[in-house]
Amino acid sequence: MKTKTWIIVTAVIFVVSGVLTAAMFWGRGRTAEVVLDGRVIERIDLDAVKEGYSFDVKCDGGYNRIRVEHGRICISDSDCPDCVCVRYGWLSGGSVPIVCMPHKLVIRIADGDDETDAVSGRGQHG
């Protein structure tokens, strides 16, 4: 093949991958994932939430009440023994998920953060 053809092929590859990448990220807000015992049970686009709402997740032997507002999510109530998950407060980004150890429940932001890849000292129960 001629050099010109190669230039065109390369250009096409770059343009197509650029468009695909843009399509993947376009309009996508911060997505919270609610994970129960390793299984994603809810995906919530936090930036698309207009009015706040709550829902309960029934877990092995108890429940967690999850509160969702525009751009943020938290566990507002739980009948777990230590309530470390409630103490966490609001999650709106970052690489540290809300964890309820006793109920094996995790709430995290998918592709959440560019500030840190992980945080040291998350604590014994989180």
């Binding site: 690489s95 540290v96 840190t116 992980a118 945080v119 040291s120 000292g121 014994q124 989180g126």
Partner: protein
Amino acid sequence: MFKKTVTLLFCLIMCGCAAREQTAEFFAMDTYMQIRYHSDKDLSDKLEDRVRQIEREISVTDTGSAVYKLNESGRAVFSHEGSALVDDAIGLCAKTEGAMDISVYPIVREWGFTTGEYHIPDDDVIARLLERTDYRLIKNDGDIVTVPDGMMIDLGCIGKGYTGDVLAEMLREEGVRSGILDLGGNIQTIGKKPDGSMWRVGIRSPLVTSGYDSLGVLMSSDEAVITSGGYERFFEENGKVYWHIIDPSTGYPAKSGIISATVIGGSGEVCDALSTALFVMGEERAADFWRDDRSFDMILVTDDGRVVITPSVKDRFTLNDGEYLLQVIDDEN
């Protein structure tokens, strides 16, 4: 030349596709573990099985574990791995002159930190338990470990750090060159990020009670970054805060002036132990310990608002929180 460049580019793109980011996540050792690594193989089950294997040996609550049996009867047969871990732990207790002591477990339990039923024990109860707190009385003879009557041990202060070492080694043997392990806030990094930049490890701010803002960010590669703080397990009574890190010399929560101790080094096991020990030692003793040892780096946060770091951390640590004053430890004795 141009063709070669394009072909090379093509290969690079293809290689990038083959090794993708994999995540293993599970609950183990009383915590949530998340391991991210770049590989074309899914190693999740293998990693989790290995964690469970270690947990089965060193758990203090699993009735089948060697540690449980030792605590129940004063004698237990350990596997070679478990026995080596006991030896390592005793060695680290000695190295820190008892600032970390694996036999402090009955006191931690008495305070309710293992069960969540917190209370302040009576002074005479603590005095009685302190008599049985001494790692030097633990004997390990050919994988048979014995402790005196009434003594119990917990390898929790090195368990997760050790597990991180084992998992990182497993991943490296599988050809993984980029990864980050988060074992309940114990961080271990493998290589650099796929884009060639260093991993960005946040250090949790010890004073924040809600949310998880980072005090600062450490650029990290091929090492363990482990933080001990009083913030996660604590209770308040009559306006006083009592946290789970017990000073083995007093039987009370360590009040050394340090509110968070981060240790950075090659071995997760050592960093895990030292983060607890330095928290108990306090700033001055910790600085002396570092000057004598030098095999690790540290970031200490003091209760008067200072962040004290070792000299080589300076160039790769960024303090985010303007409330704190950054100080570099004097290199000289």
